[in-house]
Assembly symmetry: D2
Homo-oligomer: 209 residues x 4
């Protein structure tokens, strides 16, 4: 882990830190609980964001579309995940499930990007544009889910020319083999760095930047 | 498999059908040989393209950047795969490895899109634009590799609003668990249909469109 | 005007129909009043939207970013228009100026796209994606301003593969020569049809579709 | 003109410097000759590129699609300019007209981007990606035509988050009023700087960067 992160060029992308994903009582929490608990997800998300703030990295919130009445209903071909969101009302706008976790709240200067309709936080949103206005060239992508939104956001980041860092234990998935696929099979083909929360914090705090 | 394919709206995207990937003597053939042989890749690619032509689907060739002198050399952060291409000279322009397999050649009316630098055939190319000029809304994505270019091209297709079909045995990967990840773990989250060559041919040939 | 509009493939893009632009008392109304009055802008916008609804075209609202506290403040290089918005608080969120004109309100089934930060309704938004999910290939672009948001949205539409119709008197600008530039100098180089409200209504109402 | 250009962040985008546009005998030269001669276009293009090289700015060649047999023929709706290209075989591949002017040739380290199908050098090409791999945030856009490819490339650059400089006399158009529209009516709404060759050279050569 000899990568270093210039704070003027690096952003932490915090993807979908919703109560529905992260909190007891959230609609999708039961499906991620096992992996999330095993890796220490919430502690690690808190730690990466806090370390990012100390290192003066830009923090960007990258939220999924909050479901609202009418969404997807007259679309020609919503994808399977969108059909589930339509049924379950995941991240419903105006509900607790569609709010960010209480420990992962925006602060002044953070970038709150437009909501994404599917998996990639860059697709059909202003994420790339907002990062450019802050001079960002390197992104550290954390949040949920490892093999869907984190992976698509990260694949897009690479295609858009960004340097991409994945953090193995600052994400989760429905099954351990999805984590394996994300970090051992697919991540190494497109991401520039795959690290852990502990290692990332060491890098950020060593002033290696 | 009750999906049907309107020939006026459907294209087959044939990704990276290079000798380096598909032919004895190709640079990357040794790494894909086992899976490719197990699934009957070359026969299936020939069969899907032929059936697509009979059903009058649009065929689009979606080629990776053919390596040439200077590529990647002064880039700030090529990704790991690009570094390998730079070392190995994969799909080198002007060489046999960088030519399409002799059984997978363009015909009149096919769309030959610009070369992609990384994994997604849509990123930084004219693929979306060319499909729009042919009224395409549904894509069947075949070729190589299942968990890299096929997956990124398909993830992008979904984000761009296309209906996406994957064909399990008209692709290959370096390891069987990468095929499993592509078709059992990740594909179901973004693709609209995951089928086999046999089923796809039955659909196309039943005139179900 | 032999173009016809298939209602299953055509959308009206209504760009920035804000009180700040269209209503007495709006912040930018004084700057567009002369041209808007001369062409009969508001009547024509009402007429095109109404005719579009009767012809069962999809109506898409394409709104500029509503100014809110903090916007642009820490950007590296907002453009000149963004600096003006920052000073004037144009289309301020939560104010009357940032509401759609009372006669140009969304109805059930309309598409409300994400807000754009600059001139093109396609840039950094979900407009292309939303149109694809409705099978749209042809767009009729109306609203404000002729040489900024209408022109950039239309230039983008063409580059993205859409058939583009401009309507000379369903838009306005700060000066008559900007209208001339939009419709006589630039429009003919990228738009497929440049028409008037009267002609467009005749086409839509003749059932020529 | 107090802007300065950090050579590590700035690129000159040289758009469509083809013989068909710039040289006696070129297919489109008669249509641009008057304006091009009046502004001293060729001398100014040579001067900006030379000054850019001395200041160690990145030079990017941004070429229009070179016409080849079959182009546009089965498209659903080529735009008016594309229909003209189809008739005239503008910038025909393999011909002198489709070659860069002899005084505007690529050098080692220049970026040669994919060909664009319409007006914007960013649309459906790898231009944004290639600029990102060189850390570019500021672009100086020169070449042809002022109100078509230069304007669309520049409007896109702004939407993509770049700082945009136009150079009044390092471009041309079919009519003087098109130059006026580009630099007096439209440019000021999206470009960050509008300058002249003389002023730009002074800035670049003063080491103001």
């Amino acid at each position: 882990m000899t990568d270093t992160y210039d704070p003027t060029r690096t952003a932490v992308l915090l993807v979908d830190p919703y109560n529905d994903f992260l909190s007891e009582g959230g609609k999708i929490w039961p499906a991620v609980r096992q992996v999330a608990t095993d890796v220490g997800l919430l502690d690690n998300l808190r730690a990466v964001v806090a370390a990012g703030r100390r290192a003066e990295l830009r923090i960007a919130f990258v939220p999924h579309r909050r479901w609202q009445e009418g969404d997807y209903e007259d679309w020609d071909h919503p994808n399977p995940t969108q059909r589930l969101v339509q049924e379950r009302h995941s991240f419903a706008r105006g509900t607790w499930g569609g709010e960010f976790h209480q420990d992962l709240q925006p602060a002044d200067g953070d970038v709150i990007v437009q909501e994404h309709w599917a998996q990639s936080g860059f697709a059909n949103t202003d994420l790339d544009f907002r990062l450019k206005q802050h001079g960002i060239t390197h992104v550290i992508v954390i949040g949920l889910l490892a093999n869907t939104c984190i992976e698509s956001t990260s694949r897009y980041a690479m295609e858009l020319g960004y340097h991409v860092t994945l953090v193995r234990d600052a994400t989760a998935a429905f099954m351990p083999e999805m984590m394996h696929a994300a970090h051992e099979l697919n991540g190494p083909t497109y991401a520039h760095t795959i690290t852990t929360t502990t290692e990332l914090l060491r890098t950020l705090e060593n002033g290696d930047h």
